[in-house]
Each structure stands twice: as structure tokens, then as C-alpha cells.
Subunit: 404 residues, 2 copies
């Protein structure tokens, strides 16, 4: 625990809820920044009550809150706003993901923050952005995903689009926000000035269209990108194929077609007129898929098929279930998956820290805070309040704490 | 163009190809860092020849290379390696996404870089990471996605998984890398020390499992997360629904169920025993979906249905096609989509910069370089080479340039 930390010395006031905002501040917290999470008494963060619960402790909350400090205030009391303003003066960054406009209504908009701390950085995270005709819409991940055109690119083309059952949009938006905050800190170091950042799920999702937007626009509408089910739509074969005991992703386009032909013992197909290049093969997607799958069932399972394909240089991978990832030797060896220990919920696995620094341990044994756990510590060390003042604030119901 | 830039004063030597690496360095370039892209003579970056081409110019390359400088070298000549080493001495950061080990074989591994510039930051981006038993596997986005368990969470549960037809993994991995580099720059500013960063698509994808890993592990295997097609699997109704002219994402779980009932004129269902809570509704997913879709076809189209749903407070959104996003007033007003002008390829649309700083223009009129466009500029201004020296390097075939 005495490890030197990459982002030591940075203090963040964290008003975030749900997932995108907490991801941003968690990255900072796990890299050594001091993240002061503000929770509203008496319930605290909504996510303390969602997903898998053990001993009244949400594993979701623990995963998202490692190494954060919890300060829990009764936000209906005017002293709470005054305390928050005192904290702003001692912080480098404020992060929030309320609906656009709410932070202003709370009396903590950027103009106010600047009067308290002239070089403050405010990062506002929202679904559709702080500006534009749709900015007031409510902010779920899948709402922004639908508006971004991303949903339209996932699933069977003859059927309804599919929704990925994980928080890709929220999490990567949090990473976009973390980068924006780090960039603003570098800017502040150079110029002495703070900035207000506007990070949106819509923009982050849209950022991922590496070809779709320019293909539509650059072809003057002749190319209309849409989803392709389990296959890529521009090269072939490239997709998900059924083996006896599961699925395999195979990327055998361009020069890898020859590798696949050799792996299948069908070198005769390498230059066959029906299969000679990607467009020709795309026009024969169904029979080609059937041919590959008929060949795959000749193996006992996906592991044997993959070993064979790899021996011929064909890029491929097993489609692992979540269960298989948690128990996979690579994921364990690398720390892609890690086991944490919470004093209330016990041991369980979560994703590892995705930011790896050689020579430093990415997955440190951090804990998540109980509600209001750091009330006295933060008010004492950051604001210099005396033990008597803190006791009075507790007695007056301004500060709140509970072992959950 | 005289706008003050957030990341001015940072110089990056960019060996990246494909998508994850170029995304990382493009973010820095568009925020004002000096990014020197190294290309190999005579062909240059592979992506100069992929996706939509106009006037021999790849729109893909343009999108990924805005405001980067191109230096094109014949890497078979020993003078090229010497020049690269001279450049390292003048750079803050080196970014590469070769297969693990290749940068060492090139003679530019981290230990060597440190002898050239003791506080250098090296960011290595790969599919499955620099360490672990699978680290040598080839690196396509969908390979890492399959290993991450993400593919298994997308598509119809009765059928093969679906592949999202956009570069979510590569792009967000590039953002993870950009954050890592910015964090390392903050660390260097504080300590004077550089670091070697190890960013993997696998880890970035895995990072997005906000609930799946802890639900499997925390339930001791009782919960086995898998895909759910067009519906979420833990709340209901929450999914994609068919309207007359397209699809609508509706998130009407928990208290929004009552909003949807009122919107459908079926307040009688709010507390009905068959539909009273999310688990009950999940057990009736098919008839409930049929009921919602039967009601939706009563509207002329999705716009009218959404207006009605929103008037009752139901979170929803149209599933926009890429075509619809490019022409959407919100996306245009906000700059989520932007039109750029390339002097060879002309005008076309691409995604806007996802990092927004209030009071600064996110989408600046940057250009992408032609092959070797900045040979003389970089060697002159960064390395202090004379015009004669540069001419000799050109004549000797060390430097190469072509207007493509």
C-alpha cells in the first residue's frame, strides 16, 4: 500500500452517480488522487442498493468506489452547501453527471465555482451534452446509444437491433472524461487557468464510428452503413462461427483467406473464382459460412479448432463467456480480472484496472467507503474543522454516517 | 486557427498503425500537441489505402490523422534508426501498437529510449497486453472482444453472438491510452520520471463489465451473465421495440413502468399482479413486448410515438441510422458530427471531437498530412538539420515524400 501513486496530489470533489461519472473518478482514485465522494443523507448513493447485494453491501457500489472517500451530508440544510463551497476551495477538480442545468440550480455552477477557486476544473458528464436541442433528455446509456447510431450497427440486419448487455457507453464515456480532466490539469499547470469540460455519452459513442460516418458522407449517401449480425459487412470471412461446444471468432479476410483454406485442407479454394477476393466471398456469405461450420464440427470442440487454425496463422479466438473469463489463466495472470475483499461483502471478482504502468501494481488492495466514513477525516484534514465543530455538525444532522 | 490549445507544448513520436494507437495520438494532435507520425517508405501507413477512397486519398486516413505531422523514412536504412533516436531525445512521449516485442526488435525498446531521454514516456498498446500467456496473439479488435467476454453479451441468446459494426474497442482503447499518457505526463511533472505504459484492448473491453463479473463471482456462479438480444435481462420493459417505420429504445423499468402504462392508456396494468414489478414483467417478456408493439403501430411513425412517450416521462429514443445521425439537427448543432475539408479528398463528414472544453472550439479546421509532408519541417525545426543535410537525406533515399 506504500506504492508511489501516479496521480498523487490531486483532489477531486465527486458529485457523480450511476456509472459514467463514477468511472471517471474511480480511475483517479485508483491511481492515487484523493476523491471526495459527496453523498446525500440519509440514503446515500443510489447504487448502494443495486445489482448483487451481500450483507446489505452492493458489489456494484464497491466496484465503482474503490479508494474513494465518502462524505455524507443532509443537502436540505444550508450548512451543507456552505461546507461544499469550503471544499471546492481546497479541490482541483469537481466532477458531476447531473442532468444539464442541475448543478447550477444547486448553486454550484461553474461561474460560482470560479469565484470560490479561480483555477477550478469542472467536468460535466451527460447523456446528450450540455448544449444542443436534445440536451435536456434523460440520460441512460442506451438512450444515447440509440441517438448515436451505434445501436443501429448491432444485431441481425433482418431483425431488431441488439443491445450489448454491459456498460460500454457509460464506462468509456467515463474514460473520455478522465482524459479530459487530465488534459485540463496539464493545461492548468501550464497556464494557471481552469476550464469547464462538457463530456457526453452521445459524443463518446459517436467517436467510435471509425468508418461509418465518412463512408456514408464520402459516398454521397451511396453507402448506408447498417448492422451485419455475426459477420463484418466489408470483408469475408470475418465473423462468429459455431463449433461443437460454442462459438469462435475468425478473421480470415484478405491474405488470411489463404491461411484458412490451407487450415481446412482446401488450398484449391484460395484462387477459386467463387472465392477469390473479399467481395466475391461476401456475395457467397451463406454457403461459405456453412462450409466453415461443417468443417468446424469435425473438431471435438473450439479449443482444438483454434489450436489448428492458429497453427496455420488464422486470427481467431474463442467467444468466452463471462464465467470463462473470470477463470481464464491469461486474465488471471495479467490481472485483467482481480479479486477484491470488502470488509462487509467479502471477496469477489471485478475487472482489473485497465491503466497499467510497468513496475507499478495496477490492482491495489483498495476498499470502498461506507456511507459517510470519511466525514470527520475530510472535514478535519481538508477544512481544518475541530473535533467539536464536527461533533456539532453530526449532532445537528448536517453530517450523517452509517456502516453500509 | 489561432485558438489557444489545451495540450500545447507536448511532443509525441507516433509509431502507431490501424486504429487504437492512432486514436490516442489523434486526440493529442487535435488538442494541440505536436504529433510526429513515422511512416515507412515507400508505401506509408497501411490505412492510406483502406475504406472509402477519393482522389487516391483514404477518408479513413484523413479522419485518423488530423493535425498530425508525417515523417516518412526508409526504415531499412541505418540512418533512419539514427534519425529516430535523435527524435526520441526531443520528444516527451513515444506511442506504438506493434505486436508485443517488436519495438524492442526495432532497437527502440523502453530501456533504449531511456538511455536517449531519461524521462521518456512510452505507451505500448496491444490486443491482449504485453504480459500473460496470450500476449503474443495477433491483434484485431474482435479477437480481443471475444476473449473479453464482451462478444458473448451481444446478440440473440438462442443464436450466435453479434459483432458491433464499428470500432468501439479500438477507439475506446485509444482513449484509455490517451488518459494513461496524460496521467504519466502529470506524474513526470511531479517527479521528473518517465514510465512505460501497457494498454490492452482486452483490459479496456473488460473494464466495461460494470456488473457481469461481480454478479457471476459474487453469486458463486449462480448468475451466469449472457446476452439478451434486444432486451435487458435484469429489468423490464427495457429494450428495442418496433414501430411502423423503425425501432425505438424504451427504458420503462422500475417507476417508469407506471409512466409507460399511463402513456398507453393502461393505468390498470400499473399494479396488476402479472406486471407489478420487473421480475414479474421479465417472466412475461414476450406478451409484454407484443403488447407494446401492438400499441406502437397505432402511431404513424416513431417520431409521433416518441413525442407521446416523452410527454408521459418515459425515457426513450429513436434508433437512428448512421444516415440519420449525420443529418440530425442536434448532432450538427453540437458538433457531434462535423464536416472537414481535405485538399485532396474534398469535403466529408466525420465524428466530432468528443473532448469539449467550454469557450474553445472542439472541431478545428485541421488537415491530415500527405506522405512525408513534414520531413523537412521536423528535421529542420526539431533536429536542427540544415537544408543541405535534408537534401542529402532525400537524395540518399532515407527521406521519402509523395503527395498522397
Amino acid at each position: 500500500m506504500a506504492q508511489e501513486q501516479i496521480l498523487e496530489g490531486i483532489r477531486i470533489l465527486d458529485f457523480t452517480r450511476a456509472l459514467a461519472g463514477p468511472t471517471c473518478t474511480r480511475l483517479f482514485a485508483e491511481m492515487g488522487a484523493e476523491v471526495i465522494k459527496v453523498e446525500s443523507a440519509p440514503a446515500g448513493d443510489l447504487t448502494r442498493r443495486v445489482s448483487k447485494i451481500r450483507n446489505e453491501r452492493s458489489l456494484y457500489f464497491v466496484q465503482q468506489s474503490l479508494n474513494k472517500k465518502s462524505v455524507c451530508l443532509d443537502l436540505r440544510k444550508p450548512q451543507s452547501l456552505a461546507l461544499l463551497k469550503e471544499l471546492v476551495k481546497e479541490c482541483d477538480v469537481v466532477v458531476e453527471n447531473f442532468k444539464p442545468g442541475v448543478i447550477d440550480e444547486m448553486g454550484l455552477g461553474f461561474a460560482t465555482l470560479q469565484t470560490l477557486k479561480p483555477d477550478i476544473i469542472l467536468c460535466s458528464i451527460s447523456a446528450l451534452g450540455q448544449s444542443g436541442p436534445l440536451s435536456a433528455k434523460p440520460g441512460y446509456d442506451y438512450i444515447a446509444q440509440a441517438y448515436s447510431g451505434v445501436t443501429s450497427m448491432i444485431g441481425d440486419p433482418q431483425d431488431a437491433p441488439s443491445l450489448p448487455l454491459l456498460g460500454v457507453g457509460d464506462v468509456m464515456t467515463g474514460v473520455h472524461a478522465a482524459f479530459a480532466v487530465a488534459a485540463a490539469l496539464l493545461y492548468r499547470a501550464r497556464t494557471g487557468r481552469g476550464k469547464h469540460l462538457d463530456i457526453a455519452l452521445l459524443d463518446a459513442y459517436y467517436h467510435c464510428h471509425e468508418v461509418n460516418v465518412h463512408q456514408y458522407s464520402g459516398s454521397h449517401g451511396a453507402i448506408k452503413p447498417t448492422r451485419g449480425g455475426r459477420h463484418l459487412s466489408y470483408v469475408c470471412p470475418a465473423g462468429v462461427y459455431k463449433a461443437r461446444d460454442g462459438y469462435i471468432t475468425i478473421m480470415a479476410f484478405l491474405h488470411h483467406w489463404a491461411d484458412l483454406c490451407r487450415a481446412m485442407g482446401r488450398a484449391d479454394l484460395i484462387d477459386h473464382p467463387d472465392y477469390k477476393d473479399d467481395p466475391t466471398r461476401l456475395s457467397r456469405l451463406e454457403p461459405l459460412t456453412a462450409m466453415i461450420e461443417a468443417w468446424l464440427v469435425g473438431f471435438p470442440g473450439k479449443d482444438e479448432a483454434i489450436a489448428h487454425l492458429e497453427s496455420f496463422g488464422v486470427p481467431c479466438a474463442p467467444v468466452l463467456s463471462v464465467e470463462e473469463t473470470v477463470n481464464h489463466p491469461h486474465h488471471i495472470a495479467r490481472g485483467t480480472v482481480r479479486v477484491i475483499k470488502d470488509r462487509l461483502a467479502g471477496e469477489f471478482a471485478i475487472p482489473g484496472m485497465p491503466i497499467r504502468v510497468m513496475g507499478m501494481e495496477a490492482n491495489q488492495m483498495f476498499e470502498a467507503p461506507t456511507l459517510g466514513q470519511h466525514n470527520a477525516e475530510v472535514l478535519g484534514t481538508v477544512l481544518g474543522k475541530s473535533a467539536e465543530e464536527i461533533t456539532a455538525l453530526e449532532a445537528g444532522g448536517v453530517l450523517y454516517a452509517r456502516e453500509v
